[in-house]
Symmetry: C2
Subunit: 345 residues, 2 copies
DNA sequence: ACGGGCCCTGTGAGCGCTCTCACCTCCCCG
DNA sequence: CGGGGAGGTGAGAGCGCTCACAGGGCCCGT
């Protein structure tokens, strides 16, 4: 089956163009230092033969793979409900594609899987890795560190102390949260609740910190931990309503959670935003625009974050075309957030 | 930077174990035909040295890559709103991982991108491809055909005539649609509307066919084309309500569309399911369970479909471990659907 | 007790590419 | 008009692995 004729080699191209393999190679790799007539002849031979370089052979000698692994460590919960990763992936894909790098997707499914991923990364199959969604106790960073694979993290990784040189791209979760609360207080709300994300993730923890920055002496009852899912949002909202039926605003740690909260509020007969103002985080369009009422939320440019992650990694890997538009050593990036006003607050 | 010590080679392992490179290789690849004491010695050497085979060198001689491309050709619309692809990806990832294959993700972003993908596939970087979401006029199948890359499609590809040997995995869209309508008529509904998906996709077309099978002489006004998105669902529902305010049921081509329709119905003051029964398709949990009311829908096992696609491809590629549990030539698979009753119909 | 065969192990070639280095051509300057 | 140098090109090695094949030990049959 699939008995494709053997693909032409550089040798064949060289022969057809009447040059040496070395010259053919030079042309294929940009053609610097080869005189014009030869360049043209080789190019034509490539064309006619439909030559495509054998990446394996090339990697064998260059030790580069032009491939980057994307590690997503949390398929259970978020990935499939939240367009968040999909958007980042898209940004990453665009950037990698633009620089002729491949995207190898590694979905980590469970505890044992970490070992597999570690082995893979250590195996030197890819030039670098883009890693997402680390929980506090995640063994992955350690493994990666050990593997010595250049890495950029999506979201500030949490490793209290040490290894602070890790590169990451994040949005300013803390300031975004402050902005949300500021908006709520600006609306005259005083009994503002916060439904957090899983606090073993820095994004959730940072947002909580931002909330506390503004609400230092609020009733601790007004904060309840959740998990970034709609169902979790519902649960948290019910809990909140029970504890403090008089609350007049809710800052949910992400849009999905807000959607769940909104539903419970409606059930309970509250009007949004009249009785309770609700604000989310992320501005994931299909969610934020489709809630009832449409969600006021803190926007982060997710796709751009993906793009930046890829760009950072490529620079870290010394990719020429990427390095030129930015000098100096690559460093982590924290993007600003913006408040998007819709109807819910 | 990242000046990792050079990774050990097979040569090093062989030396340490006191055997030849060939024997070391045999052990690394399963150890058949090597006597026990040697196997153990080599294994230990591998362990101690932390040896990982160089995939590039291996591929260079075997011409296998143990990597499969996943091509998703529609990032604009669905991928990011619909957990559909994410779920399939997960199934695919699990299956590939189980057989030590890598997943190379190719997101196709536009017209020009097709060429890039075609080139990549033709380049022989991967052993096979899993391709999603083909529109009628998609050039991709042609390119792939041309590239001679073993491929399995997600969803029945549409190429009227020819190339019918193409492998695919799909659910029984037509029968699923019939089942939906059957349920609705069973509820005593007679003025049943259908909001389709984009009709240049076979899944949408097949569902429409199924609808027509049951509603042969329905008012053609009751069918309106949409695009599988919530916003599209809203638009379609409004249109429908204008055309036939007396409709008493809606079969939406997917859950997202149904969610949009539900919202418009509520706005218009209709009660669901009392005034209008609504049924979706897919049973994408975060959507179907979270609508108001929860959505009755036609379930397809999306993750399983992904798993099957991968398995089919692996068999097609002659993967031993996969071939054993199924005899004969691999053939396309059409999975049954099941009706999931919730509150909306 | 001896030869044939089988099983196991090692040797060597070569996958397709890049890269170093030597060589050769031409140009320019003295 | 000749020599030095720069720029262009080619030869050859070798990346790390697998695979065909050769060769050597051991067991069995007679």
């Amino acid at each position: 089956m699939t008995d494709t004729a053997p693909r032409p080699t550089l040798e064949a191209v060289a022969a057809r163009a009447g040059v040496s393999r070395a010259t053919a190679s030079r042309v294929v790799n940009g053609g610097d230092g080869v005189r014009e007539p030869l360049v043209a002849r080789v190019r034509r031979a490539v064309e006619e033969l439909g030559y495509v370089p054998n990446q394996a052979a090339r990697s064998l000698v260059t030790k580069r793979h032009d491939a980057v692994a994307v590690v997503i460590a949390e398929p259970e919960t978020r990935v499939f409900a939240d367009p968040f990763f999909a958007l980042q992936l898209r940004g990453i894909s665009k950037e990698l594609t633009a620089h002729d790098n491949q995207l190898v997707l590694l979905l980590v499914e469970g505890r044992d899987d970490h070992a597999r991923v570690g082995r893979y990364l250590a195996g030197g199959h890819v030039d670098g890795a883009l890693v997402f969604s680390l929980h506090l106790d995640d063994p992955l960073p350690g493994l990666i560190q050990h593997a010595g694979v250049p890495t950029v993290f999506g979201g500030r990784p949490d490793w209290s102390g040490g290894r602070s040189e890790a590169l990451y791209v994040d949005c300013d979760n803390r300031e975004g949260a402050r902005e949300a609360v500021r908006h709520l207080t600006g609306l005259g709300r005083t009994r503002i609740a916060h439904i957090t994300g899983p606090l073993d993730q820095t994004s959730a923890a940072d947002r909580l910190d931002g909330f506390r920055d503004m609400m230092a002496d609020a009733d601790p009852q007004l904060v309840v931990e959740s998990d970034f899912t709609p169902a979790g949002g519902e649960r948290a909202m019910r809990e909140l309503l029970e504890r403090r039926p008089d609350l007049d605003a809710v800052f949910a740690a992400n849009d999905l959670t807000a959607a769940g909260a909104l539903r419970v509020l409606r059930e309970s007969g509250r009007r949004v935003p009249e009785d309770v103002a609700v604000i989310g985080f992320d501005d994931v369009l299909p969610v934020a625009e489709q809630t009832e009422p449409p969600l006021t939320t803190v926007r982060q440019d997710i796709e751009e974050m993906g793009r930046l992650m890829a760009r950072l990694l490529l620079r870290r890997l010394g990719h020429r075309a990427v390095a030129e538009d930015a000098e100096g050593a690559p460093s982590s990036v924290v993007l600003p957030t913006t408040l998007v006003r819709r109807a819910s607050a």
